[in-house]
């Protein structure tokens, strides 16, 4: 206890130096936490998008399906298995899907598309297709109506032209893209909403009809009520061909999927591919989506799923994305490592000065009977306190900003948002709340301090009292 008290008093003998050194630690910890939170938050958001709009956390598939995605590699929709899966405590819903490829065409326009047969009701547990229906659209007609409205400011009109052909699933994104502040919204938004509103329908089991991705509908130049032709390869090399009315347009937040997706009611889709009663996958929605819980759930399900079926987790299904994030994550960590390395040298510099300056004092203390061990522990406590002050204050500042950021992600507006969208990204940056990455900073700062303390400690233990007194 005494050691700590002495260390604390020593710190404030040279207040300026203590504060500057602590400030350097604060700076590093703050930046590290802030950037980690942004980086990890963005991954989290992207994975959630990919998982929740497409793959789901866990899928049960026929064992060869993932390697060779053909209709022959499907399995019979087994209600008993479904019941068994649902009995697992972490499985909230089992969603049957039939997925395949087809050539979609509208007269001269043709494109390879992803055909997804879904149960429109059950799908609301996971991909929530009904929430991704396009509600507003900035088409040429609505833009000209906006242009003629005298109450709408010119800046909004300009942005509306910039975002021509964009579709929206809710009015808040529309408001942001048009750069309308919350203050002006009650005045302008109602008229804009009415100009841009988009009549959309939905699909139902047993009724032929499709939903198509927004980008795909633009590419094929198809709208609600138009007919789309799908041609593909069905079960046992039969030909799968069908004509369907477009009931609705969806906007999926993954551009790669949005430009090729066609949703069909499950039974209609099975009929198209001559594979009645078969599924390509059962996608599972989970109660607890943390990595550990998912792994445990997969292990349990693995025992239930036997025969020609297998269980796949989201990491394996989103392999490419995981690898991209991993590369990006590593590069972020390297930058933070450089930052910490620089700060570590700063701390070491302080230690060096402390030692040189107090050589004589150390000599006196030892001469009047202080044990070298005790002196060393005082010195260590001093440095740890400097690290602690910097770390705690850095963490505090970062926490305040991060906690605010979690509730208020950075959302880009106007032309900046356009740039992100051109790049195929959602125009927002999310923060990740307090998590294990906080612990890492504590560990790094502690390591940094402990490494820098080696020099003064060896000085103290090697010190010759007579020489030190003369310094």
């Amino acid at each position: 206890m005494n050691n700590l008290k002495m260390a604390w008093r020593n710190l404030w003998r040279n207040r300026r130096r203590t504060l500057i050194t602590s400030a350097s630690v604060l700076f590093a910890v703050f930046f590290a936490l802030f950037f980690r939170s942004l980086q990890l938050g963005s991954y989290d958001h992207m994975f959630k998008n990919a998982i929740e709009s497409y793959t789901g956390y866990i899928q049960v598939q026929q064992k060869d399906y993932w390697d060779e995605k053909i209709v022959d590699n499907t399995f019979a929709y087994d209600r008993q298995l479904e019941q068994q899966l649902l009995a697992d405590k972490n499985v909230e819903a089992a969603i049957p899907r039939f997925e395949s490829f087809a050539l979609a065409s509208n007269g001269p326009q043709t494109k390879g598309v992803l055909v997804l047969g879904i149960d429109p009701e059950k799908e609301n547990h996971l991909s929530k297709v009904s929430e991704k229906m396009v509600r507003y659209r900035l088409d040429a007609e609505s833009i000209s109506k906006i242009g003629q409205d005298p109450e709408i400011p010119d800046k909004v009109k300009e942005l509306a032209r910039l975002f021509e052909d964009n579709a929206y699933t809710n009015s808040s994104r529309l408001q942001l893209d048009l750069g309308i502040s919350d203050k002006d919204a009650p005045v302008i938004m109602p008229s804009i909403e009415s100009f841009t509103s988009f009549e959309n329908g939905y699909i139902k089991m047993g009724e032929p009809g499709v939903l198509v991705g927004d980008k795909l509908s633009q590419y094929l130049q198809l709208g609600i009520g138009d007919t789309i032709v799908l041609i593909g390869q069905g079960y046992h090399a039969s030909t799968a061909a069908g004509k369907y009315e477009i009931k609705g347009i969806v906007k999926i937040p993954l551009p790669d999927i949005d430009n090729k997706i066609v949703y069909l009611p499950l039974d209609i889709c099975q009929g198209l591919y001559n594979a009645e009663g078969n599924l390509t996958s059962l996608a599972l929605d989970v109660v607890d989506n943390r990595d550990k819980a998912i792994d445990e759930t997969m292990a349990r399900i693995d025992k239930i799923v036997t025969g020609d079926k297998r269980v796949m987790g989201w990491r394996e299904m989103n392999e490419v994305m995981v690898s991209q994030m991993d590369a990006d994550n590593k590069s972020g960590m390297i930058m933070i490592a450089i930052l910490y390395l620089v700060i570590a040298f700063g701390v070491f510099g302080t230690v060096l000065m402390l030692t040189a300056e107090r050589k004589r004092e150390f000599g006196v203390l030892v001469a009047i009977g202080m044990q070298k061990k005790k002196l060393a522990s005082v010195m260590t406590a001093e440095m740890l306190l400097i690290g602690l002050i910097g770390m705690l204050s850095g963490a505090l500042v970062a926490t305040v900003i991060i906690l605010y950021g979690v509730g208020h992600p950075i959302i880009f507006k106007g032309s900046m948002a356009k740039m992100f969208e051109d790049y195929g990204m959602e125009p927002m940056m999310a923060f990740l709340g307090i998590n294990t990455y906080f612990l890492w900073q504590i560990f790094i700062v502690a390591l940094m301090v402990l490494l820098s303390i080696v020099y003064p400690l060896s000085k103290i233990f090697k010190m010759k009292v007579v020489n030190a007194l003369r310094a």
């Binding site: 500057i20 050194t21 690898s323 991993d326 930052l339 620089v342 040298f345 040189a356 051109d422």
Partner: protein
């Protein structure tokens, strides 16, 4: 004169100065090298995009890019060619036929873009022909009367044209390449096995090998098991000019590797002489003119000139064709600057602390100097000089080391094999050659000097506040 004194002062306490200098060296080296790796990756991406994938300027019908309608061919190609040729700065031009269709083999099919080209002219615009994977053929060098197609590696894998096979000859080759016998023995179980896909190959090999064995020999095993059947064929189908389904069998002329999955999966090159007869188009009807210019920086200006000369056509330069790439090249320099500023700010703390120490330690000396008539401005300058010298020495050494390391690594590149799949999906190669422009070093030098000056202000002000009479009396 004052700078000489300052320089000598820096070396009065060598260890202390060296700690600061080393920390600056490490910070600058880390920052510059990280930037060089990033910059190298981006430069390679831009280079691949401009030389292999899109070139500099495209000219087509204004509506053509909406949905690649086969009927929207270029008007008056003769006159167009004359106009392009007479424009200064244009190095070469090639005409392409572009059709959306499907590529099929016995088991698989996928949507592709069929690009009809004139191989000779194409070589003057694109360097794609240089990326042919050895052993898979060539860029239409064959003298064949069959239809020929030049396809990407990823498409070849998707269509099972490239397969993974482990047989006796593969195992023998691995032994020859000094793969330990026990690793080869583990693979013997696969003898005579044909893997269904790259994924299943990787998965199955992963199951029998340890992590270390995979890391050491994985790529070697993949290389050996990789197999291409010469004279492989595929069928290309599409709708012709009159919306009638048509198609033909094409033999694989060669397989290219540009380390960009999107491009490799979708771009199938065939000779116009093979393609045009199937389409119902006339031999002089093309969809797009692709222009290479002498100086890539001048592309936007040349495309402006062409736009004026060619009303009724859509003329686009590479920045308009790939806005993401343009944004990347335009924005990235700012990002580098911000990154360096953060590092230098962290370094500044160390410098401030050291300089403060310098001032406090020399209280008596500074008091003496002032007492014998050195004016405040000179004291201030001296302290500032010392701080700037510290940062410049560290900075110069750091930049020197960076330059050396960049030079060494740029010779063979750095291979990030672990991230290959993810990087290639974004169009980036995993084999990166770090590079940085000289102007970046100039910017860093300026930033270092500014850091030195800024971090000396507080300690120098402290020195000015000293009262000479008081200072002289301190021990």
């Amino acid at each position: 004169m004052i700078w000489k004194t300052a320089w000598k002062n820096v070396w009065r306490n060598k260890i202390r100065s060296l700690v600061v200098i080393i920390s600056i060296t490490i910070g600058i080296f880390g920052g510059v090298f990280a930037v060089a790796v990033m910059n190298g990756a981006i430069a390679q991406r831009v280079d691949a995009a401009l030389n292999d994938e899109i070139s500099h300027i495209h000219i087509n019908d204004p509506s053509f890019r909406d949905n690649y309608d086969i009927q929207l061919t270029l008007d008056q190609p003769e006159r167009l060619l004359d106009t392009i040729d007479s424009t200064p700065g244009v190095a070469a031009v090639t005409f392409r036929t572009i059709i959306t269709g499907m590529a099929n083999t016995a088991t698989k099919s996928t949507g592709v873009q069929i690009v009809g080209i004139d191989p000779e002219k194409e070589k003057s615009v694109f360097t794609l022909y240089k990326t042919t994977i050895p052993g898979t053929g060539s860029f239409f060098d064959q003298d064949s009367r069959e239809n020929l197609a030049y396809i990407g590696q990823d498409l070849a894998k998707e269509l099972n044209i490239i397969r993974y096979i482990i047989d006796d000859s593969v195992l023998e080759a691995l032994v020859e390449k000094e793969v330990p016998q026990d690793v080869v023995d583990k693979l013997k179980g696969f003898n005579g096995y044909r893997f269904k896909s790259e994924k299943s190959f990787k998965q199955e090999v992963k199951n029998v090998l340890s992590v270390k064995e995979q890391r050491d020999f994985g790529s070697l095993i993949r290389e050996e098991a990789w197999s291409f059947r010469p004279r492989s064929r595929m069928t290309l189908t599409f709708l012709d000019k009159n919306q009638v389904q048509t198609g033909a069998v094409f033999r694989i002329a060669g397989i290219y590797d540009v380390r960009n999955s999107m491009f490799e999966m979708t771009q199938v090159f065939v000779r116009n002489s093979d393609l045009i007869p199937l389409t119902g188009l006339a031999p002089d009807q093309f969809h797009q003119a692709v222009i290479r210019v002498d100086d890539m920086q001048a592309a936007p200006d040349i495309s402006e000139t062409l736009k004026e000369k060619l009303p009724g056509y859509e003329v686009m330069n590479w920045k308009e064709i790939q806005p993401d790439l343009a944004m990347m090249t335009d924005m990235i320099e700012k990002f580098y600057a911000i990154f360096m500023v953060i590092i230098l700010a962290a370094l500044a703390f160390g410098i401030v602390n050291t300089m403060l120490m310098v001032v406090l330690e020399r209280t008596k000396e500074l008091g003496m100097l002032t007492a014998i008539g050195m004016n405040k401005k000179r004291v201030f300058n001296m302290i500032m000089m010392e701080s700037v010298f510290l940062s410049i020495v560290g900075g110069v050494v750091g930049m020197g080391i960076s330059q050396a390391v960049i030079g060494i690594t740029a010779r063979n590149g750095i291979n990030f094999t672990n991230y290959q799949e993810g990087l290639e999906a974004l169009g980036y190669t995993s084999h990166i050659y770090p590079s940085i422009s000289p102007s970046f070093f100039i910017m860093v030098t300026v930033l270092i000097i500014i850091t030195g000056i800024l971090s000396s202000i507080y300690p120098a002000l402290k020195a000015l506040k000293l009262d000479p009479a008081e200072a002289l009396r301190t021990e």
